[in-house]
């Protein structure tokens, strides 16, 4: 009885044989439709910030450098590879590549930066305004906050700099308030 069970267990192993893949020595491509690293097609991107607004991991940032240049920064390190940005891009400028061999010893390697050339608005002389006056307004642009320095003032990394006053209103940090005043 005991032996019979053990033989059965051995039989499972033997029937399966050695199944180990020789992966790093033989390529093992991801299947079609795999959600690997997203790739921006810079020729298509219009800089609408839709991906940045809806990224669950908030890992895509846009920032105006000047009137004409807007920079899109994407940090693959924190990316959840959900493909939400692909769904939302109106120009289909983003695709999920099948690239998964992303391991690196330097986090820099995982970033993508796109300089976007923005046309100047005839009326105001600027393109769509990304500079936001304060936190409350920014909240309306959801998920769009990594590049806001004021907000980052209160991202604390369990440092000892925390003072209760930080919760108070200061010149740089306005407490969020009810929207409907």
């Amino acid at each position: 009885m005991w032996l019979w069970n053990k033989l059965k267990q051995l039989a499972i192993s033997l029937r399966a044989g050695v199944v180990t893949l020789h992966y790093p020595f033989e390529p093992r491509p991801a299947p079609a439709g795999f959600r690997g690293q997203p790739v921006w097609d810079h020729t298509k991107c219009i800089g609408c910030a839709g991906c940045a607004n809806h990224c669950p991991a908030r890992t895509i940032f846009l920032r105006d450098i000047c009137q004409e240049v807007r920079i899109l920064l994407y940090d693959s390190a924190r990316c959840t590879y959900c493909g939400r940005c692909v769904d939302l891009c109106p120009e289909k400028a983003i695709t999920m590549s099948d690239k998964f061999e992303l391991a690196t010893d330097n986090r820099q390697d995982l970033t993508q930066a796109i300089e976007l050339f923005m046309m100047t608005c005839q009326r105001c002389g600027r393109c769509y305004d990304l500079e936001i006056k304060n936190y409350i307004d920014r909240l309306t642009l959801l998920g769009y906050r990594y590049d806001s320095l004021e907000v980052r003032k209160v991202i604390k990394k369990s440092t000892s700099e925390f003072q209760p006053e930080m919760l108070e209103k200061t010149a740089t940090y306005q407490r969020p308030e009810r929207l409907e005043k």
Binding site: A16, V18, V19, T20, L21, Y23, P24, F25, R28, Q37, W40, H42, T43, C45, P56, A57, R58, T59, F61, R63, I65, C66, E68, V69, I71, L73, D75, S76, A77, R78, C79, T80, Y81, C82, K99, F100, E101, L102, A103, T104, D105, N106, R107, Q108, D109, L110, T111, Q112, A113, I114, E115, L116, F117, D147, L149, R152, I155, K157, S158, T159
Partner: protein, 184 residues
């Protein structure tokens, strides 16, 4: 006497210690998965050990939550040198999608020096093996920073310093001088 041999043996016999600092299980399961028949990292001499004292590398998964931050440091301290740290998954690399919430400190490198980053949410077992193979020197790195431009634009006029190379251009240009908030 055999220091050189010993040094060469190190990369051929990495024993890993799995440290979950608040992960969702996804990466942990994939870490276990690389031990299973299809992937079997033991062929590289890798073993999962249960005491950090026996470990050569720490596989860190999870976003390093506030309670685990000191514990991760402690676990790192418990590993004898020379030691490697692999941050596995987006959470361990940068805190993932909750990198800035009130109970997450945001990434393994906030707590301990990380040697290798293996992104993915969770990374495929192949990706983990790739990362390990990278550490073992079996494969070459395949990623590099991507910089794309829609058109050649005289950016130089905005490059007052070499800030762009340092990838802090956005903040530096805005007058943010504080290194504490450096992303990288």
């Amino acid at each position: 006497m055999w220091e050189k041999l010993v040094k060469r043996a190190f990369r051929r016999s990495i024993w890993v210690y799995h440290c979950n600092s608040g992960a969702c299980n996804g990466c942990d399961i994939e870490i276990l998965n690389v031990l299973t028949p299809y992937y079997d990292v033991e062929r590289f001499g890798i073993r999962l050990v249960s005491s950090p004292r026996h470990a050569d590398a720490m596989l860190l998964s999870g976003a390093v939550t506030r309670p685990t931050l000191p514990l991760v440091k402690k676990a790192y301290q418990a590993i004898p040198a020379p030691k490697l740290v692999f941050a596995i998954g987006s959470c361990a690399i940068g805190g993932g999608c909750w990198y800035d919430t009130y109970n997450v400190t945001g990434g393994g490198d906030k707590a301990i020096p990380v040697n290798y980053f293996i992104p993915g949410c969770p990374p495929r077992p192949e990706a983990i093996i790739y990362g390990i193979a990278l550490a073992l020197g079996l494969v070459d790195k395949k990623v590099a920073p991507v910089e794309l431009k829609q058109m050649e634009f005289p950016v130089d006029m905005y490059r007052q310093t070499k800030l762009w190379e340092q990838r802090n251009v956005i903040y530096k240009l805005l007058g943010e001088e504080d290194d504490r908030y450096n992303l990288y």
